[in-house]
Structures are given as C-alpha cells and as structure tokens.
C-alpha cells in the first residue's frame, strides 16, 4: 500500500494522530469532515471506474447460460463461480492480509457438513431435516465461527507457520470426518443434499443454480472490493506490510487478522453451502488435502493481486479439469494441474493476472517504441493501444 493510503487510513480512524514515519505532517482535518469522506469517495470512485470492460464482462456472464448447453452452464459456469467464491476468501486473506490459509476448504466443508447434518440428506438417521433457511443461516454462522477459531489459533505465529498450522487443522478435520460415524457418517458422508425448491423454482436445475451462484459470486466480489478500500481493509493491508509499525500506531494486528479470518470464513461458508448443493453430496474427500490445495491452486493460478483473480483461476481450473483429460489419460489430471501450478509458481508468482500486466507493459513499451519513430510492420495494432495509453498516463 502506498503512503497516501496509509495516511488516509490513519486520518479517519483517529484524527487526533498525525504521524507518518516519524515526520510531522500537516495537522489533521476535523473528525466530522474526515470521517465520511473516504467512504463516499470510495463509492464515487468505484462507480467512476466502471468502464466498458466491466459492462462487457457483466453482460457476458448474464447472457452466458442462454447461449451454451446446460453442461456448460452447470458443470463449467456454476462450478467455476462456486470455486471462485471459495478461492476469493483465500485471495482476500492471503493477498490483503498476508496469511496463506489452506483451511478455507475446511471452512467451506464445515458449512457443507452443517447443511447436510441439520438439513435433509440421504441419511435420515443422522440428518435432522430442519427448514432450509434456518439450516443455511446456521451453516454460515458455524463456518464463520470455525474460521474465527482457526484464525485465532494460527495468528499466534506468523508467515510461513500459518500455512503449516492451517494445513494441519484442515487435515485433522478430514481424518475426523473420515473416522467418525456418529456425526459425520464416516467415509460415505452424506448423499442427496439438494437445494430446496423456493418460489416455485427448483434451484438444482442448471439455469437457476447458475444465477444463484452468479449472484453470490458478484456479491462476494463487490463486498471484497468495498472492504479493501474501507478503513478496516486498509488497516489490514498495513498489518500485512508492517505489523510492528501498525501496532506502534495503536492498531491491534491480532484483532485485524482474526477479523480477516472471520470475514474470509463468512465468504467461504457461503461458498461451502453452494458447493454442497452443487455436488449434491459431501464426503470426507470434499474436504481432503487435494481439495484444500486445489483452492490454493485456483487462487494462485488467477493471481492474488485483485479479487477477480480467483474467478479467472477457477474458470481455467474447471476447464482444465473437464478438457485436459481429452489430451491425456483421465487419471492423470493431478499431474497436469500439478505441473500447471509448478509453472505458475516458478515463472509467474502473480498468476495469470501477472501475465496480463506483463502483456500490457510489453504492449505499451512497444507502443512507445513505435511512436518514437521506427514503425515496422503491423502498425495497426499499435495505433489502437497508443491512442488509449496516454489518456491513462495523464
């Protein structure tokens, strides 16, 4: 985060303080004036930033299910949106909080298990069959609570330890779900966990489910976009960059981190409810190590610099999952995804978004070259970007 953001964060949290890096700064603005401005400014800015590409993407995702067969609507579109939502929670936690948690799938799985245990499933001996709205509320609450506890445990150590602790917590939950028959129904898990029929719409059908997932994915996306500009989000990024300094400024790094876990858990729990409805079942395998790591792969594949990353990553992941098998043996999907992940980790730490940035940089450099004189060959493409580029720069 830039120094400007820092100062902003400090000013509206407590306007009495005016310190930035030991140098005296201008006296703070009055609190009454300072407090509302970043909020309204944030909203204004986010509206002003809506460009044609946002409209195109929004239209594309809205029209998408009408122009493709149901398989693409449900298996590709629906699954990518749900996985993207769960990975979004990891992107928020890792990209903006600096905590790489592998337990996001566990949180989603806990919410899914709550849906199966309290709601209706193919195992009536265990499932309680409560009404769906109560079950969903309790599942999201339970997932958020579990995430908060996991966060509270793992923020006691820092950096690389987080990944170990969250991995251990997630694996422990997997083995518990696998070994325990009284509550989790052991190895078989729960089958026939279907979304309810509400407002005369069967949400299990591809089209309604797609729009349901799309609604929550967009809600999650805009929520995160809003949150990272809010005072809390900016303080969280401050904690990520320099926890000691933030704590010297009077912020509590631990409280911010645990709150970030809770927020991420809330999103992951919504994703978990959608995922259990998407699959129609939940088994220990859905919270196993491979799925915990798949969420990490989705988030890293897309890039953690922007909340749109996990959705891009999820689309690529789901496409690979469904079509990589055409190129090679079906059984070797893990090999493909492992190699893709390795390539991304080795050559593009910022994921596909990082490649996009590099491409743009390369294009603009080419533009700059072509403008300074030597126009060689395909000039038409350069002209287009050269016209756009200076506007952004000015």
């Amino acid at each position: 985060m830039s120094a400007a953001h820092w100062r902003k964060a400090m000013n509206f949290n407590e306007s009495g303080r005016s310190w930035s890096g030991g140098r005296a700064t201008a006296p703070p603005r009055p609190a009454a004036q300072a407090a509302p401005s970043p909020l309204s400014l944030g909203w204004l800015q986010s509206w002003r930033h809506i460009g044609w590409r946002h409209v195109v993407v929004l239209l594309a995702v809205l029209v998408y299910p009408w122009i493709v067969p149901p398989f693409f609507t449900y298996q590709i579109g629906g699954q990518a949106l749900v996985l993207g939502l769960i990975a979004l929670s990891l992107t928020f936690l890792a990209g903006y909080g600096g905590m790489l948690s592998l337990a996001q799938m566990t949180v989603a799985g806990i919410a899914g298990y709550i849906v199966a245990i309290l709601g209706v499933s193919g195992t009536p001996e265990i499932s309680l069959g409560w009404p769906w709205w109560l079950v969903v509320l309790l599942a999201i609450a339970g997932g958020t609570l579990a995430a908060t506890l996991i966060g509270w445990l793992s923020v006691r150590t820092e950096g690389i330890y987080t990944i170990m602790i969250t991995l251990a917590v997630g694996m422990a939950f997997f083995y518990l779900a696998q070994q325990n028959y009284a509550i989790f129904n052991g190895f078989q898990g729960f089958q026939k966990v279907v979304p309810p029929v509400v407002l005369d719409v069967d949400w299990r059908h591809p089209l309604p489910f797609y729009y349901l997932a799309l609604f929550w994915a967009l809600a999650g996306y805009f929520f995160i976009k809003y949150l990272i500009r809010s005072p809390f989000g900016i303080a969280l990024q401050g904690v990520r960059d320099n926890a000691r300094r933030m704590s010297a400024l009077g912020f509590s790094p631990v409280a911010h981190r645990v709150a970030a876990y809770a927020v991420a858990g809330f999103i992951a729990a919504i994703g978990g409810v959608l995922l259990v409805w998407y699959n129609g079942l939940i088994t220990p395998g859905s919270v196993g190590t491979s799925w915990m790591i798949n969420i990490l792969i989705v988030a890293v594949l897309g890039g953690m610099r922007h909340p749109v990353g996990p959705f891009i990553g999820a689309v690529v992941f789901v496409l690979l999952q469904n079509f990589a098998i055409d190129l090679i043996d079906r059984e070797r999907f893990n090999l493909v995804i492992g190699l893709v992940f390795l390539v991304i980790v080795l050559f593009s730490p910022d994921g596909l978004l990082g490649w996009w940035d590099k491409l743009r940089e390369w294009a603009s450099r080419r533009m700059a070259q072509s403008r300074t004189g030597s126009v060689r060959g395909n000039g038409w493409r350069s002209v287009g970007v050269a016209q756009v580029r200076p506007l952004g720069r000015r």
């Binding site: 422990a172 518990l176 190699l339 390795l342 980790v345």
Partner: protein, 313 residues
C-alpha cells in the same frame, strides 16, 4: 516464573496422572500395550519429522513434499527389496533414493528461490501433487508389503504386555539409535557445527567463509534421506499405499508444531506426545483418535506458539 511453570505441570499433569492410574487399575495389559504401541508409533514419527525439522531449521523451507519423499522412498525400497532380495538393501535404497531426490530439489529448484519462503512452500506443494500422481501411475493403487528377515517379524514375550511384535521393538531401537546418531552428528562433527551455526545465523556462517550452499545441500539430502529411510522402515511396520504421504506429512507437521520448529530434540518430544496420544485415542475413544493430537497441537499453539522446545523466531 518457576511457580508458573509448576502451575502448568500440575494443571496438565494431575488429570493425566489420574487417567493413567485409572487406566492401569482398569486394565493394565491394555494400558501398557497401548503405551508401547504409542512409543513405537512415536519412533516412526520421529524418524519422519526429524528430517522435516532439520530442513526447516536451517533452510527455512517448509518442505510440504516431505510426505512424498517418505512414500517414494518406500516404493523404491520395495522395488529394490524385490530385485535384490534383501530387506537391508531395501532400507539403504530408500534412504539413498530420497536423499538423491532431496539433493536434486535443493540444487535444481530451491536454490533459486532463497529467502522466498512462500514460493518455496508452494513449489513443494506442486511437487508433492506431481510426485503422488507419478507414484500412482507407476505403482498403482495396490498395497505393498515388505519382506523383512524372519527373526524380525516374530513376536517377543514381555512382562505384563505379553507377546509384542519384535519388529516394533526393533523400530523403537532404530529410532533411538538414529536420534543419538543425529545428535552426535550435529553436536560433534564439523558439518553438524556448520548446520547449527546456520540455524542460528545464516548470514554470519556465510560471512565466515563457509560454502553455505554445500551445507544446505547436505542438510536437505540428510533430511530427505531420513524420510525415505522412514518410508521403508514404516512401510514394513504397516504397509505402503497411496495416501500415506499426506498421513505422514500431517504427522510431521503436528510433531514439529508441538515440539518446536527446527529443533531435533523438540521433534523427539513432539513425536512421543503425538504418537502416545494417538494410540491412547485409538484404544480408548476409537473414532475420535485424531482429535487427541489436534487438541495437543491447539493447546501448544494457544499457550506456547513457538512449540515446547522452540525458540521465538
């Protein structure tokens, strides 16, 4: 300070003591057999986790492919055992193959990411996925059993417990020997001294004219080799099958989180705690066995985040 420590000892010690006395009075044979089983499991966990903690302490590399090294070592050891017909050669092959893999990883991959903890860790995750799938490709989903010498697989009569598999006692002895050897290597040899110096201050070690990369490579090879060794030795006690890699990765993670990261003595202590807790959980509360080790981990994290014998980073 010492009063506080005694408070903790009594807080956890008294209920445990009471439970132990109840266990002995209730069924002494079950109790001691479980304790012995726990210790042998702890021996196996120590063999796996000591390499993990050694690598972490010096290289700051959380090697999440450690479980894969365990499994690959076991498979290669099994193949060697089949062709050469000797269990001891199988153990050696498992150790050497895993050590070679570790060496290749350090020289070929991790050396280029020095200091980037997160990237290294993610690379190890990717490698563990690839390794698991390649192993599945080559060896399939079957369960493999080793063929150790006859005198090892029998059983030994012990007081109270009765008949107990000899191999588990051998495993226990092996872990103690390896632990002592590791201690001797780290405390008394020149390379061990370099490793310890590197754990304390990597930059200073390099400044005093020692080729740090060589020390790193040796450490990684030893750590990985121990995983492969444990793969064959543990595969003989239980069996080898896909999925064992994550199981032993979880074990090493919990053991080093409990014991303290980067400390070999901590790995021993953590292994004993986790192994014994797991076996008692399995014997007295079958479907909640994993919860016991998890509760230990959570308690340690809550009250002593750096691990029991760990130092604050």
């Amino acid at each position: 300070m010492s009063l506080r420590r005694w408070f903790w000892v009594w807080l956890f010690g008294l209920p445990l003591l009471a439970l132990a006395i109840w266990g002995i009075v209730d069924n002494d044979r079950l109790f001691f057999a479980t304790a012995l089983n726990g210790l042998t499991l702890a021996a196996l966990y120590f063999l796996v986790a000591s390499g993990f903690t050694l690598v972490f302490g010096l290289l700051r590399n959380v090697n999440l492919a450690h479980g894969s090294l365990y499994l690959l070592g076991a498979y290669v050891g099994w193949v060697a055992g089949e062709y050469l017909g000797s269990w001891f050669l199988a153990v050696a092959a498992g150790f050497l193959f895993a050590a070679l893999m570790g060496l290749l990883l350090q020289i070929g991959v991790f050396r280029f990411m020095q200091g980037q903890d997160l990237r290294q860790t993610m690379a190890t995750i990717a490698l563990s996925i690839i390794a698991a799938d390649v192993a599945l490709w080559i060896w399939g989903g079957e369960i493999y059993q080793f063929d150790p010498p006859r005198w090892i697989i029998g059983s030994t009569a012990l007081p109270i417990v009765g008949k107990f598999p000899t191999y588990r006692l051998v495993l226990l002895a092996m872990a103690i020997v390896i632990g002592l050897a590791l201690w001797w290597f780290l405390a008394r040899t020149r390379v061990g001294m370099m490793i310890r110096a590197g754990v304390d201050d990597r930059a200073m070690l390099s400044a005093s004219g020692i080729d740090v990369q060589k020390v790193f490579a040796v450490t990684f090879a030893i750590g990985a080799g121990l995983a492969g060794f444990a793969g064959v030795v543990g595969g003989t006690a239980l069996s080898i099958a896909p999925g064992e890699d994550t199981r032993y990765l979880l074990a090493s993670l919990v053991v080093v989180i409990v014991g303290g990261m980067g400390s070999v003595a901590g790995a021993a202590l953590g292994a004993v705690l986790v192994g014994v807790a797991e076996q008692f959980g399995l014997a007295y509360a079958p479907t909640y066995g994993i919860v016991f080790s998890f509760v230990i981990m959570a308690l340690v994290l809550a009250f002593r985040p750096q691990g029991i014998l760990g130092r604050r980073a």
